[in-house]
Symmetry: C2
Subunit: 254 residues, 2 copies
């Protein structure tokens, strides 16, 4: 799933300097957007991260808001530009405005390492309030786009994160808390399990999100009580008495 | 519950001009905070609103973030300054950044009406992203503080709101949605029903928040299943067989 961009140091420097020069005219000052994109794959919950320059640090896919653009539109555009993801259900869940997120100020050092000397107007020297969104997607749909700043795109197991900049580790934790709380009600909207699936498939998704095991019978009772599933024919397996039922979501997206 | 401040037009003008002159040095640009404060009183759910100047328009208690202050600290300070409310449990729930909230641009007209001519630097001409908080409080604790801009503080029934500026009506609706979703889990934290209460008292709070009636037996079963109540002695009423049980929250704040 990793994607390494072949970019020279010179190109990286030019990309960052061009951005810093144009940013104040294009974007609202002091507000950024960061999106936590969860992917479910091989029974594991992953999160999409971008390598900052060629450093050892990663960040969430994020960006800035155009002066005539709504927050939600900006969040969708940024995600499309960074990852190629279209038409996904992004949910705003938190706005980070604590002061500790700037304590280490590593990004400035990292930028300086690349560009050598700060230009007169330094976009990154502002304090940013970050509006945070999250989504749960089918991680095979991601198609990273080339651009300055980020040289690698990688899915990380949420329990094994790399070094992250700012307060992105805290943001991922908050996104996971919200995903756990909201999974029942967002299951259909996320449009994740298309077509039909077994109760065992759905249980694997729940176990990955909640990071714990569920008892099969309790899980089945709880899910059926949500009243969002339609039961289909039994899955053919040759051993009819062991075949599991197939389900699909009642609001058919298929 | 209303509070009318006796302020002359001249004082109002001076207050606003002083604010506009000092604001750019004190506060982060482009970000505001608005708080939806729900009050429960006489079995009715109210929301605290401030009259903008001497106009017919009301707004939520809100303000701006100091350059060296976290979002949460700013929200608490603003609420303390506007309403005298101390140590309350404010929950961040939404950040509003749509473009429609500025379409009418009434505040500029209202400000112009008071100050006559815009000063060179107009703080209000920026586009603001508003970070929104909500709380549910005992509405007898509110003690409005005198200040420019607002001449009246009033609790309004959430179903009968006056004219509101910006997108504050939408924000109140979103806050109410969140309160309805979160009431079960926030009940203890809000510290609203101190001491002991009957199941009927609690049902009245739920009915006010959800804007509908509940069946007594169903309500009782649901609330007891939350496992947050401790049952006390029966309330003495002279007719022992009709006396209701008293309850209090298990995490005793009393």
């Amino acid at each position: 799933m990793a994607y390494l961009k072949d970019i020279s140091d010179k190109e990286l420097k030019k990309g960052i300097l061009d951005f810093m020069e144009s940013a104040p005219d294009l974007y609202l000052p002091g507000v950024s957007i960061d999106s936590t994109i969860f992917g479910f794959h091989n029974n594991q919950l992953n999160v999409l991260l971008l390598r900052f320059g060629k450093s050892e640090y990663f960040v969430l896919p994020g960006g800035f808001i155009k002066k005539d653009e709504s927050l939600d539109d900006a969040a969708l555009r940024i995600l499309r530009e960074r990852t190629g993801l279209l038409d996904i259900y992004l949910e705003q869940f938190y706005t980070s405005g604590n002061l500790e997120r700037y304590k280490k100020n590593i990004p400035k050092e990292l930028v300086l390492k690349i560009i050598g000397k700060m230009p007169h107007s330094n976009w990154f020297e502002q304090r940013f309030i970050s509006v945070c969104y999250y989504a749960l997607v089918d991680d095979t749909k991601v198609n990273p786009q080339p651009e300055p700043f980020f040289t690698e795109f990688k899915w990380y197991d949420v329990t094994k994160l790399p070094k992250l900049l700012y307060d992105h580790e805290l943001i991922i934790q908050k996104a996971l808390d919200r995903l756990q709380t909201d999974l029942d009600s967002k299951l259909v909207g996320f449009n994740l399990m298309r077509g039909s699936f077994t109760m065992a498939d759905l249980q694997k998704l729940y176990e990955a999100v909640h990071q714990r095991k569920f008892v099969r019978t309790n899980f089945q009772r709880k899910i059926l009580s949500l009243n969002i599933l339609e039961r289909l024919e039994k899955q053919y397996s040759g051993k009819a008495h062991k075949a599991p039922y197939l389900y699909r979501f009642k609001k058919a997206w298929n």
